[in-house]
Amino acid sequence: MAIEDDVTVVGGGIAGMTAALAAAREGVDVRLLSHKDSTLKSASGLVDVLGYLPESDGEGPLSDPFEAIPQLPDAHPYRTVGVEGVREALAVFDGVVGDRYRGDHTDRNALVPTHGGAVKPTARYPASAAAGLASDDRSALLVGFETVTDFDAPLAADHLESAGVPFAARGATISFPGDFRVDAKITRFADALDADERVAVQGDGYTTELPVREALAEAVKPHLRGAERVGFPALLGQHRPDEVRESLEAELGAAVFEVPMGPPSIPGMRLEGALTGACREAGVRFTTGNPVVDYEEGGRAGSEDIAAVRVERNGAAIPFHADQFVLATGGLVGKGIDSDREGVAEPIFDCHVPHSGDRYDWFADAAFGDHPFARFGVETDDDLRPLDRRGDVEFPNLRAAGAVLGGHDFAAEKSGAGVSLATGVAAGRSAAKEVSDS
């Protein structure tokens, strides 16, 4: 009969992949279902744990997120998994990414400049961003490219200086060397740098050909003026970022770093690659391409178990059976929580999402106010099982992880990836344990 696994995880982001990985490493059969390609292409690649306390009115950032976790409200997902749960999840993450990431030497948050010129407190950052930390006092030149419009280097440098960073920051906008189309994709630049393609470069009345890494360094040199480090938008190679950075550093005689960017994000794609690789190695099966829309109840009389989730494909419903399920479909942005003018709902299992009946209570008046909608999501018991409106477990064999969980505002707190990792590992392990115990 049909397709059957021990644990089925719904959702392909950080929470879903981590849950699948954690479960598979416990030795059970795991399938991950995701509607589209992983949303990690839209992730910055930074792994935040906790940057600000809720309702801190912009005070902060926190220097030690672990110290702050016990002060969070009871409904916060970190209170469910505890400080130990967060540490265990980071250990899993560190094992997966190896030397591609930094930050595991300390509990303190690192301060990473973003493409808007803000400074973000984060727990783990790509090695490629390491030389850019805002706590470092070396002078910095930010380099933007005319056709990469998401990064305005002079503006970002001004923002950094007015944020009070302890170093001088300048920005310059240059054209990327070579004859690339005006709307070339950032992956095109990254591929060219990976392969060190030869590009045509205009000199004084002559044209010559140079390897692109060298040509790029030559174009930056006139702007260097003694800067000790140089930041580029995050496009320094898809597959060989270390090598690209080393070549540029050798040419420029300065440290080189990447500034994380919006989607499509190359650091996000590199992280996706690392997580997918670890999942495959652990035996996770991936089924991607169609949305999970609802579920089938268990066959046993009196049981409230979920027997299968149903994937919708042009009018046909394909059931995926499992013993245990993990819901990791994301929040309001990721479409794991849905809302209309009448109410807020979790669309697959119709789990209860606490919210006011009056939609004018869903938001605060100020644009950057403390919006209740940002904390919309399912409530769970200690084992991450969603609760219904009476506070009882919705389904004995369903756990939730990541942004679908309520009680936290990942954007204001800077806690997104950390919540996904911590609850993903906890939900995955717990689901697997349930399978082995039964």
Binding site: D37, K185, G262, T288, G289, N290, N314, P319
Partner: protein, 449 residues
């Protein structure tokens, strides 16, 4: 619908109660604002509005990756759709460089129907802007209507195979028609699948409740009937009644070449012939993933014949179907085969249907066979695309990564569900390529004979 899409009167005061009053207006009084007043066959505006220009589709497009002149799916779809609202703006001819792999669809985080937009834009380009006497048009029409050519060719398979393998004929094809001489034409079978089917007297199993209608498509009929035969034997061994209704090309090569009129005619016949069977309790199965993709997704996106939706909802890829209705994994766990190692490539159109991992998962549990997935890369041939003289090089550049990954595996043979991916795999590596159905039939049927 979000609040943002509701029209509000800018003269309304900011008084909270005023706003609440507006909320009580019932839905049927709401009238959408007509931004583009001219009427048209298909309104793609909602899809266009859903695009927030994140460009993820562009980074996933195998053509854009190797062809700097190709502006990518975001331009071909939502941006071009907006541009051509202006009456004097033509469709950009770069739309003909899209290979219809449909990867943009699965990469879009906002559910924009990109391939539907590309199909309509391509259709419009061919209809209004292409010279019907041009070499390109004639060549594309011939390639798109492969079935017509195949029907003639297969009447005298040996002669056709001899001619098509003849270097003089190939040179003429390239010079006159723009069909690359780099490739070897697929051989026509001495006996088509349908001829075999009729000779064996049709279905060997009759069943009231387990019944499927086989959409064999052109390729397994004219070129690789072994795949169709394996499928029939496999399904019959599980007690299914298999019927093979009259059918035309699924339309995939026609969509890819913007020949929407041809595709529409073919789709009409297919929908008519299959929807009646669906009513009688038959599900439709296909052994080619582009065929199943076409019936499932492209028909409902582009046409509105009676029965289109029910045909789409009842169409399955053959392995998928067996897997859903039988305990295929248990059957395979008890079976054994002498097939060896395969380098498996998931066709783009299998990926899009959510079937990318399926063959590897199934063969994993089978003694005597192993399939290693060679990764996400596109094979690059995309049906008729890689046959075009001017696209051949792009096609091979896209395929390079797959060839490399195939060579890196221990396998000496390849495996895929898509007949043209198979051609490209063979062309790039020299490996013999098999269909997973053939291996399954060997494991589950031949042994029991």
């Amino acid at each position: 619908m979000s609040d943002a899409e509701q029209p509000t009167n800018p003269n309304d005061s900011n008084d909270v109660n005023e706003v609440r009053h507006e909320e009580t207006v019932s839905d049927d009084e709401f009238e959408p604002v007509q931004v583009f007043p001219e009427s048209e066959d298909m309104d793609l505006r909602p899809g266009s509005d859903d695009c927030y220009k994140c460009s993820t589709c562009d980074t996933n497009c195998p053509v854009a990756e190797v062809d700097d002149d190709f502006p990518g799916p975001k331009f071909q779809g939502p941006e071009q759709w907006r541009l051509k609202r202006k009456e004097d703006t033509d469709i950009d001819d770069s739309v003909m460089s899209c290979s219809n792999c449909m990867r943009c669809d699965s990469s879009c985080p906002s559910d924009v129907p990109l391939s539907q937009m590309h199909n309509t834009a391509r259709g419009e380009y061919v209809e209004n802007q292409m010279d019907k006497l041009s070499r390109e048009y004639v060549r594309n029409r011939i390639l798109a209507n492969y079935r017509t050519m195949a029907e003639l060719g297969s009447k005298v398979p040996r002669l056709t195979n001899f001619l098509m393998g003849n270097s003089l004929v190939q040179a003429v094809n390239e010079k006159v028609l723009g069909i690359t001489s780099e490739r070897e034409f697929p051989e026509f079978a001495e006996e088509t699948f349908r001829e075999w089917w009729e000779k064996r007297g049709g279905p060997q199993v009759r069943s009231e409740d387990k019944r499927v209608a086989y959409f064999h498509g052109c390729y397994s009929n004219y070129n690789t009937p072994a795949v169709g035969k394996a499928m029939v034997r496999l399904f019959e061994s599980f007690g299914y009644e298999v019927v093979v209704p009259k059918q035309r090309c699924s339309g995939t090569p026609m969509f890819a070449n913007g020949m929407l009129d041809d595709a529409k005619r073919a789709a009409g016949i297919n929908v008519e012939n299959f929807s009646g069977l669906v009513e009688e309790g038959y599900d439709i199965i296909a052994s080619c993933t582009s065929c199943s993709m076409s019936l499932r997704q492209e028909y409902p996106e582009l046409f509105s014949y009676d029965g289109t939706a029910s045909v789409a909802a009842h169409t399955y890829e053959a392995l998928e179907y067996l897997r859903l209705h039988e305990d295929l994994e248990a059957e395979l766990a008890d079976a054994e085969v002498d097939a060896g190692e395969f380098a498996y490539h998931a066709p783009c159109h299998a990926r899009n249907q959510g079937l990318a991992g399926q063959a590897v998962e199934l063969i994993d549990g089978l003694d005597g066979a192993n399939a290693e997935d060679v990764g996400d890369s596109c094979s690059g041939i995309s049906g008729t695309y890689g046959w075009k003289d001017e696209k051949y090089e792009t096609s091979m550049k896209i395929g390079a990564e797959m060839f490399e990954h195939m060579e890196e595996t221990d396998a000496e043979a390849g495996m895929t569900e898509c007949p043209t991916c198979a051609m490209q795999m063979e062309h790039g590596t020299g490996y013999e390529i098999r269909h997973p159905l053939e291996v399954l039939e060997e494991a589950l049927v031949e042994g029991s004979h």
